[in-house]
């Protein structure tokens, strides 16, 4: 995204943002949903978007940066269009979650969270995703994928847009 | 010289007295007959002091030839004669951060106690066995860091490289 492009929510997202504000008794509480929304639209949350949000919501910039850096699912570095979460917690590691993670990094020649060269995916190692019965599990964007091995994982990831 | 044992305690009074006087006698006789004198014909003859002698100071350098001193001022704090004067400044290298721009020792004030050597956390200052110092005026007795680190007698002006180098320390720090 070029910096020259004007950074602002689309009309639809702005309406959603306004709806979020009605849910909470103060504007700060709406920050997390708004960040999710912004990430949905912009992909990731660089400084100039933080600036826009800070002005929009009247929250100090550093406060928003703190929040973004705190959560695993909000990104202050560039990420690919699709996010692949690989669980590496106890149960998933027992069934080879870590090997899948390493295998994926090797296969796509990338690093933790670094987007692949075509900008299509970012692979993120995650702690327990809350789907241990289907270990080893992964998330492709918002969809859970369970009982995977490296081959099926690669296969499924390749199907992503 | 460190006495190994207490002759009197070990051997009893008489034997102790005898052993002690025997040593004295032997040395006396040696001096009379063998002419082994302590007086040297200085400066043609020079006495060699051990490395533990506390003589003229030296500032060690790093492998790249810069001063090891980080100007923490512990030596000047510890110095009983208050003869060390350091002016510190920023160093462009972030890892070094602080370095002296001037390091001066007033040699006439120095009591050569070696406390500076002990206080130094980075092995930047040492006392050598160099004991020949001379000067005409008071100003000549203020040794600056060029004198202290890069005088001719130290590795031909290249300075003494300290073994605990910064890079080694960083390696230790992992």
């Amino acid at each position: 995204m070029s910096k020259l492009e004007k950074i602002e929510f689309t009309a639809e997202n702005l309406a959603r943002y306004k709806e979020y504000l009605t849910r909470y008794d103060d504007i700060e509480s709406a920050l997390l949903p708004t960040l999710h929304l912004a990430q949905e639209q912009f992909g990731w949350l660089p400084d100039h978007i933080v600036k826009y949000l800070a002005e929009l919501m009247g929250i100090p910039e550093i406060h928003i940066k703190e929040v973004i850096s705190f959560y695993d699912m909000l990104y202050d570095t560039p990420v690919g269009r699709n996010i692949v979460h690989v669980c590496t917690n106890i149960t998933c590691s027992m069934f080879g979650g870590r090997e899948i993670y390493q295998g994926l990094l090797k296969h796509y020649e990338t690093d933790f969270l670094t987007p692949t060269r075509d900008g299509r995916i970012s692979i993120q190692k995650m702690e327990c995703l809350g789907a241990c019965e289907i270990a080893p599990c992964m998330r492709l964007n918002n969809d859970f994928l369970g009982n995977v091995d490296l081959q099926t994982a690669i296969h499924k990831i390749d199907e992503l847009p | 010289m460190i006495l190994k044992s207490d002759l009197y305690r070990e051997h009893g009074f008489l034997k102790g007295l005898y052993l002690g006087l025997k040593l004295t006698m032997i040395t006396m006789l040696k001096n009379i007959f063998k002419q082994e004198r302590m007086t040297l014909n200085y400066p043609e003859e020079k006495y060699f002091y051990s490395d533990r002698f506390k003589g003229k100071h030296v500032l060690t350098v790093k492998e790249d030839g810069t001063l090891r001193c980080t100007s923490c001022m512990l030596c000047s704090t510890y110095c009983p004669a208050q003869c060390i004067h350091i002016v510190a400044a920023d160093d462009s290298d972030k890892e070094v951060e602080k370095a002296p721009v001037s390091f001066e020792i007033e040699m006439l004030r120095c009591v050569f106690c070696g406390f500076c050597e002990e206080a130094c956390p980075v092995d930047a200052i040492r006392l050598t066995n160099e004991y020949e110092m001379s000067g005409h005026a008071e100003q000549e007795w203020v040794a600056d860091h060029y004198e202290l680190a890069f005088r001719k007698s130290l590795n031909n002006g290249k300075g003494i490289v300290s073994t605990v180098d910064d890079k080694d320390r960083l390696k230790l720090r992992l």
């Binding site: 849910r23 705190f70 959560y71 695993d72 149960t91 027992m94 809350g130 | -």
Partner: protein
């Protein structure tokens, strides 16, 4: 899992066998929301008392009596206060709430409306972890249906009671499962736990009284109100009554969520409900309550009864009821490494002992990678873990220290071997 479940067998999963029960219509046809309607005729204090009588204990991990917790809450009905549902189940090994919510979101909503009526809260939030995107959508849809039916919003069923319910998605932080951390996160801050006192029941979200309950606790409320506290007590023991969802994963043939009365033996859970250890292997160890719980060796696992007291008596904790089964092929050093990596990654960075300690414990265990490992490292690990306990604002430091100490207690020899063995490349 039994197929033809009904109220007599299950409290929480009683609707789960009905297809499409996530739709309000089907849920109502099966008898849903009836309890809620009946509850509006009851005195809120009576509901609180009933819950207290039932002996329901918080299902999030600490096991504190829900009724007693409600008792601390302000009785001033006009004061602004909040009901917060903790659906941020991030304890490794736990997936019961996900299972509960994705199949039957309405039971949670019904439970929350009853609780809101009892507590007099005007607004409620379901804090669901960010990874559960679809589950959040299911909840949103269910809430929309409930609004449409007049179960939520202004003047519910003409009783003059207002209750708004919203879903709030987290963004991936274990610590937001801690109640004050969750409140911080809801307030739009970093999800760092707050100092206690004041407790959230007095000063919580936005400095106002806030009640935080686990999904499972809230979902059990409709059943308790329908059949009464005594019926609930038919299950379990005196101190741990009722049923509990257990999430079983690891080396078992049929991993998944089951609902059994508390005090069911672990042996029964593994062998009857989960089809035994995978591949007929020998059981080596069981983590009985999520990764924070100290591990059981095989002997203890076979005799322990899964209720709060018996698990605690054997030196562990029931926690969230996440059972991770490990068979003989598993290396305990690796398991501990994964656990410590997790806590290192998730420490919020507020209190020093936890921030530095979790990282250091991981480094101590990984010393063989830089070639400085020795046997006594296990002793150091034990000491470090001990000095982290009870030192921090929230329980994360304890949660990291307990499994470490537990593991060292049970598998010391294996760990000593683990730290000193360098893998050949």
């Amino acid at each position: 899992m039994k197929d033809s479940a009904n109220y007599k067998d299950y409290a929480l999963l009683s609707y789960h066998h009905i297809p499409g029960v996530h739709n309000l219509e089907i849920f109502e046809r099966a008898g849903g929301y009836e309890t809620m309607k009946a509850c509006f005729d009851k005195d809120p204090e009576a509901i609180k008392e009933e819950v207290k009588q039932s002996g329901l204990r918080g299902r999030g991990g600490a096991g504190f009596s829900t009724g007693v917790k409600w008792g601390f809450f302000t009785k001033d009905r006009s004061a602004i206060k909040y009901l917060l549902c903790n659906a941020d189940e991030s304890e490794p090994g736990t997936f019961k709430d996900r299972y509960l919510v994705e199949k039957n979101p309405h039971i949670l909503i019904e439970g929350m409306i009853i609780s809101a009526w009892a507590l007099g809260t005007q607004k409620g939030y379901i804090y669901i972890r960010g990874e559960f995107y679809h589950q959040a959508m299911i909840l949103e849809k269910a809430i929309k249906e409930a609004y449409a039916n007049g179960y939520l919003g202004k003047n519910i069923l003409g009783k003059g009671f207002d209750f708004d319910l919203y879903v709030h998605r987290g963004a991936g932080a274990y610590i937001c499962g801690e109640e004050t951390g969750m409140i911080s996160s809801l307030e739009g801050k970093k999800g760092q736990p707050k100092l206690k006192p004041p407790f959230p029941a007095i000063k919580g979200y936005r400095g106002l009284p806030t009640m935080v309950n686990n999904v499972e606790s809230l979902a059990a409320i409709p059943w308790i109100m329908k059949f009464g506290a005594n019926a609930y007590k038919q299950w379990g023991t005196e101190k741990s009554p009722g049923t509990k969802l257990f999430s079983i994963s690891g080396d078992v043939n049929k991993p998944g969520v089951i609902e059994v009365p508390l005090s069911t033996t672990l042996k029964e859970i593994i062998e009857v409900h989960c089809g035994g250890v995978r591949n007929g292997n020998k059981l080596k160890a069981v983590i009985p309550g999520g990764s924070s719980a100290p591990i059981f060796n095989a002997e203890d696992s076979l005799i322990v009864k899964m209720d709060y007291e018996d698990v605690a008596a054997k030196g562990s904790m029931l926690g969230s009821g996440a059972i991770i089964v490990l068979d003989e092929t598993r290396n305990m050093g690796e398991v501990l490494k994964w656990t410590l990596e997790f806590y290192h990654h998730e420490s919020c960075g507020q209190c020093t002992p936890c921030r530095e300690g979790t990282g250091w414990m991981e480094k101590i265990l990984k010393r063989k990678e830089i070639g400085v490992a020795k046997k006594s490292d296990i002793e150091l690990l034990d000491k470090t873990a001990a000095s982290m306990r009870g030192q921090t604002i929230c329980a994360l430091a304890d949660a990291a220290a307990m499994p470490t100490q537990g593991m060292i207690k049970v598998f010391r020899n294996e760990l000593e071997q683990y730290v000193t063995t360098v893998a050949k490349k």
